[in-house]
Symmetry: D2
Subunit: 304 residues, 4 copies
């Protein structure tokens, strides 16, 4: 398969869609990103990286980071983890808090904010310097030691993130957070403020397409069974309340972020990352979703 040709076609076809989405504006630094940015990178099984557009430009990965912290938590904890967070899709956005109440502080899955906060709490309890551990994990997965976080983004989110503070305290009231709430949130906002490029991101999730193995570090990040399971959770829970639509149109396990990035994998075939800041009504990158749909259409590759 000539992925480069496919990527070249895709960037042409998505141009009219770039400005149809709405760039996140709840913090100044996200609002300042031009809607016309577009990058995409594919990492194939034979070790090649294909890329197009702004694929080397770092941007705010936001919720994509939930995939890394979940992996870190799973490496350590495994079964016990699923007692503290579910693995079912969350239904309507409307339900987030009522479901927490109905289900006694157990978030529905690790990819909604509530669940990611619990995962952050788990990682914080296990790892002495959790920020450093996460940064090293991400750098190793991406084969790029230059990756950093943006502390101004973290601070902005911290100052305006009242709803996340509410979520964390609500979960704490059910006893499902062990550490001090402020410290858990500091780590949570840290992870969201990491900045990576499409090339970094595509490489970083390649182990999920590769049975858990990371070729450049030579590390078995997860075993094959864990790998399949993370992919399953991504498919059913990775794109907010649009998982059904994403599976229907794209047909890959994927995880999106409010910065406009999406990562996805097709097991034993490829990993991919795309970036377009304009979001659709569900909070997923509008042109990014379209680009992934074009990728599956043009290559005929799908898990279904």
């Amino acid at each position: 398969m000539n992925y480069q040709t496919v990527l070249n076609e895709i960037i042409e076809e998505v141009q009219p869609s770039l400005t149809r989405g709405k760039v996140a504006n709840y913090i100044p630094m996200l609002a300042a990103v031009p809607a016309t940015k577009f990058g995409m990178a594919v990492q194939s099984m034979d070790g090649e990286t294909f890329k197009v557009g702004d694929a080397d430009e770092a941007f705010s990965i936001q919720s994509i980071s939930k995939l890394y912290t979940l992996t870190l938590a799973l490496k350590d904890q495994r079964r016990a983890l699923w007692k503290r967070v579910g693995r079912e899709p969350s239904g309507t956005p409307f339900n987030s808090l009522v479901q927490l109440e109905y289900e006694n502080g157990i978030p529905r899955n690790p990819f909604i904010n509530a669940g990611a906060i619990v995962i952050a709490d788990i990682v914080r309890s296990r790892v002495a310097d959790c920020r450093r551990a996460l940064l090293e994990f991400v750098r190793a997965r991406s084969d790029n030691t230059a990756i950093e976080n943006n502390s101004e983004v973290a601070r902005s989110e911290r100052e305006t993130g009242f709803r996340n503070v509410a979520l964390a305290n609500f979960i704490k009231s059910f006893g499902n957070i062990d550490n001090v709430v402020d410290e858990v949130l500091d780590f949570y906002f840290y992870q969201c403020s990491l900045e990576m490029s499409c090339v970094d991101l595509a490489k970083s999730v390649f182990f999920l397409a590769n049975g858990g193995n990371c070729p450049w570090s030579g590390e078995a990040v997860l075993n094959p069974r864990q790998t399949k399971r993370i992919n399953a959770v991504m498919l059913t829970c990775g794109t907010y309340d649009a998982v059904g639509d994403f599976a229907f149109r794209v047909g890959m396990p994927g995880k999106s972020g409010v910065g406009g990035g999406i990562v996805a994998v097709i097991p034993n075939r490829l990993s991919v990352a795309v970036w377009s800041p304009g979001l659709n009504a569900h909070g997923n990158s509008l042109a990014g979703t379209l680009a992934l749909e074009l990728l599956t259409t043009k290559t005929g590759i799908s898990i279904f």
Copy 2:
């Protein structure tokens, strides 16, 4: 792959689990089915059918029928269908009615009861004799002209199905049912009362593993794109409020019924059906889910 060996192992291993589930008892004829029944059938790409246990015994397929009516509706209507029913997982069972209210009578997906009732309404509007059309469709897909419905089961469900009557009238109050409610429900209870064996069921969904083509009838039931999409909807919505857990453990698109049957497919590899009447807390066959999990574990086949 020697599927027969695998099936022989599975039936041994699930024995202790057969009586751990709870047989549906809301109507007498379902309650009367022995919990010890177990059957399983695999239809492979090269045309072979493998089977074990009670795989030739017909049982009440119940909600598995929603897959057939959705296929019938999709053949005719396509895009318009998705304006009347969503394709997102439903969240907690608790939310079924509140979501209908919140979302103005548009059911979340075609596999919850509310959605299947809308699909039944769509089929009823398009096809003169919808019962006959459905029966012929099912017989053609299963290559078995002996398949019938059980009118006593249909009548029992009709007499006690107050919640479905409530759902249908509630949807009608939003204008999302065109026909007379009683006629739609008659068709709905008819479809649920069809009786098929594991062999019938495995054959009947083989087209979903085969790009939409049904070998024994020679018919292109759906095109490849529609086929992928039905599989995606099955994966994200096919097993009630346990879709995340089912994807996590089994990793196949599947559809279950309260009679204890489950059908599933792995695209380009196989279709499978399993039957064990005891249900888990989510209403899916307990030993049936385990059997499918064993199938993926033993064969290493998975979409993830």
Copy 3:
């Protein structure tokens, strides 16, 4: 107190408000009522009836009838009744169905539709000819044998009342309706289609201001304790999801109907009925609520 002077002032002051409300239009016969109709009648403790405007014109009493069926049910059943229906306000309209689900088919109070349907079921189980019994009860309370129901209104509501059919079947699914759903709904739609004037209505609820005694029939309808309690339920549940606002502004126990009527009482002082078809956002008569507020302001009478 010269109530006639007060009524004369009120009808002047509400004129600009008559057309600010929205006349119910879900059935043709309600939609056809002119928004400019306005009537009001006060029944004082010394036996005098004061009236103004269209106070002698009969209109569709709709949900005001729930007060009569509750009284009938209470006469017979008392404590057992409160096991089948609560007496708490219902919160947002949004919650009607979810609360029924959460609270196992026990409606929150007898004045929401769900609760009134259960009350209709109770009356139907106790009284052989429940329509006749209700009609005789209403005629005796109003001292007017000419009161009738409007069968065309009942038929219209029956044909379009899918949401009430849904509610009744949903409650039945929890076992909280004993009779056949259709028969219960026939009685329910019958009661809503009664037609009475403001004079009829003010007289009909006078027993609630008078310790349970109906002067013109000489009957002790309820004992003083039951009377106080019905008034309490009216105050906390009688005006849909606007009970707080109604208590805040009007300060009387009252019951409204979608036909634009409201009845209210001040214990040991007066009973009152008002009619203006235009409804506010909560489904209560807009000018009718204002008229009652003016009555308490001008007379200084209030329970608070």
Copy 4:
């Protein structure tokens, strides 16, 4: 009316009920209060104070304080206040958070925790030293300069009140809190930790039975219209999710606290306070509610 005789009878009759309730135990200082404590005080229109049992012993008033802060907020702000907090009953406890979400951060009424936090924010914005202002208000209303708060109770609630922190941050995320969340909560936990006796409490709310006038301070605390309206809000919202039951059984506007206290008024007749630490399932004092019911039964006084 000889209220002393009535109180003497009541304390006898409630004895068997004192230990049937459940003393609040979420903080140690509340858990330590003996369930056998019982006090009651009536303040009559002619200036006499009647009391029985532990009526002079100060206890933690908790949510009763919401009545004082609402009065303070109403004195200053009036209409604008009702744009930031509703005046409708809250429905089931289950709904607190979902209703906040559904209604964009506007709490249903000033007596649920969410509403009281908004009121605390309003008072904090208006009054320089809000703690001092509240303390002086309470002392003046009770004619007792010895009233204090318990700083250990405030600290305990602060340390364990994760749910209130969640509520406050959630409301802040909708823009309905102006001050820094921690400062608003400090004031909120301060008000809840005030300690008063039944005699203090009965005197403190006497102005609500007396058209807004406080005899011992000679101050017109509220005008008659405001007074009626606070009483209306108390009746429809003052006793958590048991307002209907409380109105049905007791028939007085009242406000309860988790410390086991309840205050109530009958306009132009009396104010009353009762204390019994054991709570019923709704969080209201079990024997306290019974004592108020006995008071209305024995005296025949009721607003209905």
